[in-house]
């Protein structure tokens, strides 16, 4: 019998022998955590010292008796206190709502975990970054930069899709440099949003000098999500000057974005050319082995026990986003540990759908077709027509892929929507795009953009 099962039946027996208040007070959070096969001692955890004393002194015999009737090899019981803060579990779920309802102008003493000087979160390190074929170039570039700050690849521009580890790499680079050079170098990590806010604040309060001073007195500037800077003229200009000052003084600049410099539409030409002047590396989608490695690292880090099989199926099913991968894993562990539910394929499927699916309620097939045709500047009629020119075929295939991917339409239905085509045509298109998407970043980029528009229009 499983340990959990054994303990359940022991509790069942005890419940009959003592009053309900007593049972609730002393046994509610008890657990059988371990059995030593050698000397037949089992370890029982209790929530506090009071329960430990009480159970040990009053119920020891009853527990031992019923344990032995279930498993004759048990000879003795040890008790330990494992304190649980019930508030923690509850509040983790509540947290999201609470922070929204309280609009407090009183700022806190900065998030205590983040280094206030550098803005770096020590959680991200080079060691905890899982390297695979999709990001080894980026990883190597970062390593080279941390060894030879400001000289080798400057600026270092890392781009890639959402949730693929750009922030991790950036922060890890900052942390690594900080570790190597200690107080000798000033590292500053900012998101481009923070930079924009600082500039806006400075303009409003006529304190531009402060901002200039702050950003130009550092040795390593790490900027996350630079694409948001595009189109904000004053900020772009300020960033351009800052960039030049730092660059001329051989200060290291590390930048991340969700697309390559050339693909940020609103970015000024002079900034673009500067970004491209250094080293541009991309991180792309992790392959299956890497996804599994990431899950395993995470499980090990947190000290969880999750079945190999479950990890494998999570890695198979969640493909596009490491953050989602971790999200699904967190949920799986939550269900298993706190709700005590056993994972099976069906449950797992549910969790994955819950986590990864964007509500596609308001999206219609017509809307998708319209957006794709707008994007490629062809008319919807062309998409549905019979032409087999390559400038129409490609959009048509992408359209089919999206109808399948976003709306989960059946293949015959997709064929029908796009000019009464055969379902095999649709299958071919979806498979082709699915294959190409992993090989051609530019295609992936485009599909991302289209998806963004689709979700934006329907939301």
């Amino acid at each position: 019998m499983e340990q959990k099962e054994i303990w359940k039946s022991v509790l069942g027996e005890i419940e009959l022998q003592i009053s309900k208040p007593n049972f609730l007070t002393w046994f509610k959070q008890s657990q059988l955590i371990n059995k030593n096969e050698k000397d037949g001692t089992v370890l029982v955890s209790l929530p506090n010292n009071f329960a430990k004393e009480w159970v040990k002194n009053r119920y020891h015999k009853i527990i031992l008796g019923s344990l032995r009737s279930l498993d004759g090899s048990i000879k003795n019981i040890d008790y330990v206190v494992v304190s649980q803060n019930p508030a923690v579990i509850q509040s983790n779920q509540k947290r999201g709502q609470v922070s929204k309802t309280i609009a407090n102008p009183q700022p806190t003493l900065i998030e205590l975990k983040i280094d206030p000087k550098t803005n770096l979160n020590p959680r991200y390190t080079m060691d905890s970054f899982v390297v695979g074929s999709s990001n080894e170039l980026a990883y190597a570039a970062v390593q080279a930069v941390t060894k030879d700050v400001g000289k080798k690849y400057n600026p270092l521009f890392i781009h890639g899709g959402v949730g693929l580890g750009k922030t991790h790499l950036l922060q890890a680079a900052g942390n690594e440099i900080k570790k190597t050079y200690q107080e000798g170098v000033n590292v500053l990590y900012v998101t481009s949003e923070k930079f924009i806010n600082d500039v806006v604040w400075a303009i409003r309060n006529r304190r531009m000098e402060d901002v200039k001073k702050r950003y130009r007195n550092i040795d390593v500037l790490v900027i996350d999500d630079i694409q948001f800077i595009g189109g904000k003229t004053a900020t772009e200009l300020e960033f351009f000057y800052t960039f030049n000052v730092l660059y001329e003084n051989n200060k290291q600049i590390i930048i991340s974005s969700d697309r390559p410099p050339a693909a940020i539409p609103t970015l000024e030409e002079r900034l673009r050319s500067r970004f491209e002047g250094g080293m541009t590396v991309d991180v792309s989608y992790p392959d299956y082995e890497m996804r599994l490695a990431i899950l395993k690292t995470k499980v090990q880090e947190q000290g969880w026990s999750v079945e190999e099989k479950i990890l494998e199926s999570v890695a198979t099913k969640v493909q596009r986003n490491i953050r989602e991968l971790e999200g699904v894993l967190n949920k799986v562990v939550f269900y298993e540990q706190y709700k005590g539910e056993k994972m099976n394929t069906k449950k797992l499927e549910e969790i994955i759908n819950e986590t990864t699916q964007v509500t596609s309620k308001n999206i219609t097939a017509t809307a998708v077709i319209k957006i794709v045709s707008d994007f490629f500047e062809v008319s919807p009629d062309d998409l549905m027509g019979r032409s087999r020119k390559s400038e129409v075929v490609k959009p048509r295939q992408i359209c089919m892929y999206l109808l399948r991917d976003i709306l989960k339409l059946s293949y015959p239905h997709i064929g029908e929507k796009l000019g009464n085509r055969d379902h095999t045509t649709a299958i071919h298109a979806c498979e082709k795009i699915n294959r190409d998407i992993n090989q051609k970043p530019s295609l992936n980029q485009r599909i991302m953009l289209i998806k963004e528009r689709v979700y934006k229009d329907s939301g």
Partner: protein, 370 residues
Amino acid sequence: MKLIVLKNNLVEGLNSVEGSVGGNSNLPILKNVFLGTDSNNIILTSTNLELATKYFLSGKIIEAGSVTVPFLIFNNIIKNLNTERITLEKKGKYLHVSTDNYEASIYSQESKNFPIIPLIQNKKDSIKINTSTFKNALTNVIVASQYSDIRPEISGVLINFQDKRLTFVATDSFRLAEIILGLDQLKSNFEEVSAIIPLSTASELLRIVSGQKDSEVEIFIDPNQILFKTSTQYIISRLIDGKFPDYRAIIPKQTETEVSINRQEVIDAVKLTKVFAGRASDITISVGENKKFLEIHSADSALGENRYKVPVKLRGEKFSVAFNWRYLLDGLKIYKSEEVVLGVNDSNHPVTIKSTDEPLSLYVVMPIKT
């Protein structure tokens, strides 16, 4: 069981166990107080399973034994008696309380059903502090603490012994108070130890020790519980499980501007000017061009505004920062000296309140954004 005790002693005992009597829990016996004998001592105990208080009562033991009765009833009777000597005797299922002119019998519960108070495993190492020093340190940091469901690890007071110094720290993430005691104020045979005491325990401790002057409190610490031992009682509490944030990182290493102020005058000024403080309880303190006055100012568009000028000594530049006036007042009140120093960087960074006469106390508060 039969005992004869003096009323005042018993009242004092009941007062000190009152705080840890259980409230509405599953187990009704937690609302009881345990009364029993242990060799030559009479013991009063109460617990809510987080905190337990054991009080050693002086009195005459005629017959050993133990009993447990509802605290509220027992306390009400004893408090209102007007004779000096009280006889307590267990007869059958009842506890008889009798004086020369009064008699009551309280229905009791079996004392063996009363929770067993856990003992500390590590009896060897302890920290000894004078009660009033301990009380002062605790009072001064506890102002910065606040109960939080979200972050249990800061809903308490951190006591940390390291490098021959005992540090008390509390924070509610808006402000932080720290008091350091050196070896001249305490004895410790711990090398290094650290524990987070729940806020409720800390306030209960304050209540209990505030009556005791010039005695000593001895602290024993286990991985998940703590014992405070004074001459007449034991207070045993669970500890908060968690890691206290690395608070040193947020204390500003240096401050650009430092202002010496007369503490009492600023306290009075804040109390006065806060009348116009808005919903965020914000008041602004600033030093202008001439650098001779600290101006405390609050305004509300619907009510009006006021300003108060206090002469100061300034080192650094002019500044203006806004605070929640309660937080500012709390910080000023932890000091005793006439003069304290405000350390300001700018309105986005924490402000320190220090005193040159009390170098081992520190208060840090985050300004309000305006």
